[in-house]
């Protein structure tokens, strides 16, 4: 409705002005998202950073997800560290499974990936609990 009113007030020849305002809004909103989307940032250590790079170089996101985002062939790994533990993770990463290939990672790389997954785990829960669903249909999620 606001936009219908807006466009009624500004005929088509004012498109340039409206677009400029739009770009301004986009810039401001982007800035707000960048700085305020995470109020309690938790920086990764160097091992987790290296593990993140291995994750990208081996294209793990093709099959796995974080917070439901990624490929659907394998399970979501957001909370694998707290749910399965480091030994389970090490076994899978080192040898693969029938479905997951063995990437022949070095011991250091395996440790780095575990450090990365443990860091991701600390960021929150991938499953939204029933109690977080508001009557309006949205979620109210408290930061971990």
């Amino acid at each position: 409705m606001v936009f219908l009113l807006f466009c009624h007030l500004f005929p088509p020849y004012s498109v340039k002005k409206i677009l400029l305002l739009t770009f301004l809004f986009f810039g401001c909103y982007s800035g707000i998202v960048y700085f305020f989307c995470d109020n309690k940032p938790d920086a990764p250590d160097t091992a987790a950073q290296r593990g993140w790079k291995v994750w990208q170089d081996k294209n793990c996101q093709s099959c796995h997800q974080f917070y439901g985002l990624g490929g659907y062939m394998g399970p979501d790994l957001t909370n694998v560290a707290s749910q399965k533990g480091p030994n389970y993770m090490r076994g899978i990463i080192e040898h693969g499974t029938g479905k997951m290939p063995d990437f022949h990672l070095t011991k250091e790389e395996v440790n780095d990936v575990i450090a990365f997954l443990s860091w991701v785990d600390k960021s929150g829960q991938t499953q939204v609990p029933d109690s977080s669903v508001h009557w309006t249909g949205t979620y109210i999620i408290s930061h971990k």
């Binding site: 677009l19 305020f36 940032p41 990764p44 993140w52 669903v133 249909g137 408290s142």
Partner: protein, 458 residues
């Protein structure tokens, strides 16, 4: 049509063919990973499929823009256009070279080594320069489709840059920030190329109608701005379940996915106005765009459901998301692009035998896409039900019935590939006629030609 544009059109169509080819194999690699891991693993096939699809859509949008801007601005081919084409094509080929060597390094949708983003950025600057210099030389009060093209060009550059901000260490100091910005840029980028594609669609409609007023109406402008606002905000549905601050979620939910309404409203207008004779004359162009309208309806329903967080809880991380992506990229974007490229290549003036083949291809695609999409929706519902409703935690157990359903999806994919191959083959035939300097190769016996000729006499 210049040589460069002919080459680029052929390259763009080849990308569509590659998308479907890799997608068809990837579907089976998903179902039988033990076998495919020995030769072509899924983690290698998926980026090939996804990147080919992305580049098909963006290149298709750019092809339409390069061709139609000549008519709109009255400019000739510039050096910057050629620079765009050659850098763009060379980069895409290099990306596939890296994929074939299993060299990755990027993130979702852009899985190639990040340094290759640089030539893509440069190529886009050349495309923008060519477009805006042409605009500057022509007129000051352009129709809406010119604004849409411009919006798409600018926002693609902005979101593509944003997609690469993670190279700056500060952006990786928080996982939630990194994920939010990654999906902010991915989501907004879809809106950016949609602006370019819908702009082309609007241009074709106004040409078919012979009525430029539809591209200057207040209603169209209103919907355009709603589309732009969606582009900037509705990416939030990707990150609903991230425990980041709530304003992203609430705002995205409120704005929702109204962008499709813009397109549908314009299409309905078009459907009411277009004359029967012109419908016959440009039959396939019309059919592709009308088919996109059908898919816009289907996808709108799905998108509206997914935009409600309480429902998104069941659909997020399931194949319903894939169904939504496939419905949008194949059902809407690819159909409009095929309509647009068909208009450029004058496919409705192909000989009768090619038209018959096009008809077979079109029907095969239409039916198989519906089965393909339906199977993905059922697979997604099954996973959502088992994971969220039943609370299953064993992944293999949870996926059992999902994998059974995905067999239907994989086999429908074969028919989809065959149908699209038939269509693309005939588009290549049309390119061949352009090369021979005979773009209007109509056999005098075709009923469409007779009808259109009669209308012209009247």
């Amino acid at each position: 049509m210049t040589k460069t544009l002919k080459f680029f059109t052929a390259f763009t169509l080849s990308l569509l063919l590659l998308t479907l080819f890799f997608g068809m194999i990837a579907a089976f690699a998903f179902l039988y990973p033990e076998f495919y891991n020995r030769y072509l693993p899924f983690y290698q096939l998926r980026p090939m499929h996804v990147s080919a699809a992305l580049f098909w859509i963006i290149s298709g949008a750019a092809t339409g823009l390069l061709f139609f801007k000549k008519n709109v601005f009255g400019t000739k081919e510039t050096k910057s256009e050629k620079a765009f084409v050659w850098i763009w094509v060379a980069t895409i080929l290099t990306i596939f070279g890296f994929y074939s060597l299993k060299k990755f390094g990027g993130r979702e949708y852009w899985e190639f080594p990040p340094f290759l983003c640089f030539p893509i950025f440069i190529a886009w600057i050349f495309l923008m320069y060519s477009f805006f210099s042409g605009w500057k030389k022509s007129f000051k009060n352009p129709p809406l489709y010119v604004w849409m093209w411009a919006t798409g060009l600018i926002f693609f550059l902005l979101t593509f840059t944003e997609q690469n901000l993670y190279q700056i260490p500060w952006f990786r100091q928080s996982f939630l920030r990194e994920m939010t910005i990654q999906w902010k840029s991915n989501g907004a980028m879809v809106g950016a190329w949609n602006q370019m594609i819908y702009g082309t669609s609007l241009y074709i409609m106004s040409r078919l109608l012979g009525d430029g007023s539809i591209a200057r109406s207040k209603k169209a402008y209103t919907f355009y701005f709603i589309g732009v606002v969606n582009l900037m905000i509705n990416w939030g549905h990707h990150v609903y379940n991230l425990p980041a601050t709530s304003f992203v979620r609430h705002l995205a939910y409120a704005v929702s996915m109204t962008e499709w309404i813009v397109f549908i409203a314009i299409c309905i207008d078009f459907k009411n106005k277009i004359s029967q004779a012109r419908k016959y004359r440009y039959l396939f162009t019309h059919r592709f765009i009308m088919h996109a309208e059908f898919w816009a309806y289907l996808n709108l329903g799905l998108a509206l459901m997914m935009s409600i967080p309480a429902i998104n809880r069941y659909t997020h991380g399931t194949h319903i998301t894939v169904a939504h992506a496939m419905g949008a990229t194949i059902g809407i974007n690819s159909m409009i692009l095929l309509g647009s490229l068909g208009y450029i290549l004058k496919i409705d003036r192909l000989p009768e035998r090619n038209r018959k083949l096009l008809n077979v291809g079109f029907l095969t695609v239409a039916i198989s896409l519906l089965v393909f999409w339906g199977a993905l929706v059922v697979a997604g519902l099954l996973k959502g039900y088992r994971e969220v409703w039943l609370g299953m935690t064993n992944f293999q157990q949870m996926m059992k019935p999902v994998l059974t359903t995905l067999h239907v999806f994989a086999f429908a994919g074969i028919f989809l590939f065959v149908g699209m191959f038939t269509i693309i083959w005939n588009y290549f035939v049309a390119i061949k006629y352009w090369k021979l300097g005979k773009p209007n190769m109509v056999e005098s016996t075709t009923k469409y030609h007779v009808k259109s000729t009669m209308m012209e006499v009247e």
